[in-house]
Amino acid sequence: MRALLTDRRSAVDLVVWGGLALLPLFVGAWQVGQIAQYLTYGIFAMSLALIWGQCGLLSFGHAVFFGLGAYAMSLSTLGMIPGLENWTSSYLGLALAIVLPALAANLLGRFLFYGRGLQGAQLAIVMLAVAVIAERIMTRWPYAGGMNGLMSVPPVDLGAFGWHYELYDPLPLFYGTLAAALLVYVLLESLVRSRRGVVLRALGIDEPRTAFLGHDTRGLKLSVFTLSAAVAGFAGALFAGQFGFVSPPLIGFGLSTEVLIWVALGGRSALLTAFLGAIVVRLAENALADVLGAGWLLGLGLLFVLVMIFLPRGLLGEAYWWIIGRR
């Protein structure tokens, strides 16, 4: 308790997560369901903030891993995976949704982190190309539903030994997702605050110097990228269970752009601000998109440019670092 009072960072954590836990007391059931969905976006945003904010790896196609997770979950719970038709457990789906994106990221990383052509921008550009191609493949692949995607994906089932409990009603869904988000946050934040987290940030600032200090920077980048993809896939799986529907836009260019905007506006330098950024931007979009129409995205793009120029730590990020008392 003393640590909580002296360490403002933990106090902010407590206020944010406590506030989120109390949210259903103040808003209606429909909105609770809506926010539960934004929580999965928040988890996704944390996965991007981990690689981008901590070790300076920018990805323009992070939705590939989110979408891969969502598709893995859906295909598995719909019993469409050859050989595993009768095993439609949500646990299997979640496991696949974590393992497959991690595997994909690891393979890709093995190729990319050894290049130095465009000074570290390779990942950003190659991921952009991956996202566009992944979306096209999914659009043309009849097995994965093609353009229509996969419908009536069952909700996440937390049952075991013949007992079933589906996260379907807004309230259980909200708390289930919140618990998952908190779990991811605690896991990633403990990495960020550990000694290894310091090395990650050093790597983001100056990779050659970090390497001179004896750190295996490529191996570190590879493992963080893999971890980030696993988390993104997990978020995608939760999303698929909630939304009940996956389609090619989930794996492509559009969502990749959106998550970048959430993280940039919220603040990439801390996981918490990226997480909140996703929720806040989505809530604002809900409130404003009808009024502004296509102007919403125009405004968001311009706001994004302004934040990049003047507040590189993001709108919430500036407040966060000010509250916890660091420059």
Binding site: G117, I133, I261, G295, G301
Partner: protein, 285 residues
């Protein structure tokens, strides 16, 4: 035989347009270390300038002249308002230009609607090449692209301006000490790179459907071309575009366009692994 010739011509066409787009990107990257993610939208603006002028009753040729000028002006504005403030923060320039690309695309959707516009080529004649009819306009595109690429090489390797520009690329501080205004070069190159994208957009507009999403389809192959060929030399994008364009055209005509993208992408990633700084190499830190 006919089939092979057609394939060859179409591939050459595609390659030359990618070179045109990639050239603008690589000049800006070489001089300012800025990766311009809004380059695809500059291409888009070039195409829309032509469409707009043609719809207003202006002839195609004026449109072709106006597009690079207008888009060059947009590039100048971008440099002055955005890039100038952040060009020492590498990743942030990528993101800021990315934000600009979103904003430009949305502005185009607001002004012209999300649908496709069409415009007509100034001449619809078919030329007879070894017994195969081929649209003369596509040959015209190739001629324009060749001319511009040759002109750019001339500008950078045979003029005083080019010498100074290469000096800035090689070592910005030393160039500045020698009395070269690096600010002026930043402005000029950014505007020139943008104008190249605008010209590419205008010249391609008549043979494709002009819609707000068209920019990305050229940006990605252009980037891959630079990654494959190398960003350290003007010849890099030419070589890269040749490899990318040829692979794409051949695979697309033999199998399917989607498979072609996958093959091109895989090839590009493998090339990046084998030649980390491009096939022509950077050679410079």
């Amino acid at each position: 035989m006919d089939q092979a010739l057609l394939l060859l011509l179409d591939a050459a066409n595609y390659i030359l347009v990618i070179v045109l787009v990639a050239m603008g990107l690589v000049i800006v990257f070489g001089l300012m270390r800025v990766i311009n993610m809004a380059h695809g939208e500059l291409f888009l603006l070039g195409a829309y300038t032509l469409v707009m002028l043609q719809q207003a009753g202006v002839s195609y040729w004026w449109g072709l002249i106006a597009a690079p000028l207008l888009v060059g002006l947009v590039g100048l504005l971008m440099e002055e308002l955005v890039i100038r403030h952040i060009y020492h923060r590498f990743l942030d320039t990528i993101l800021a230009t990315w934000g600009l690309s979103i904003a430009i695309k949305q502005a185009v959707i607001l002004l012209f609607g999300p649908g496709a516009q069409s415009t007509s080529a100034p001449f619809a004649a078919q030329l007879d090449l070894l017994g195969t009819p081929y649209p003369a306009y596509r040959l015209f595109i190739m001629a324009v692209a060749l001319l511009v690429v040759a002109g750019t090489f001339y500008l950078f390797f045979r003029t005083r301006f080019g010498l100074a520009a290469r000096a800035v690329i090689a070592n910005r501080q030393t160039a500045a000490c020698l009395g070269i205004s690096t600010r002026a070069f930043d402005r000029a190159t950014f505007a020139y790179g943008a104008a190249l994208a605008g010209l590419a957009g205008a010249v391609m507009a008549p043979i494709m459907s002009v819609d707000p999403q068209m920019g990305l389809g050229f940006l990605i192959p252009a980037f891959l071309a630079i990654l494959v060929g190398g960003a350290g030399h003007l010849g890099g994008p030419v070589l890269g575009a040749g490899l990318i364009g040829a692979t794409d055209s051949v695979t697309a005509s033999l199998w399917s366009p989607v498979l072609a993208q996958v093959v091109v992408f895989t090839m590009a990633v493998v090339a990046i692994r084998l030649f980390p700084s491009g096939i022509l190499g950077g050679g410079r830190k």
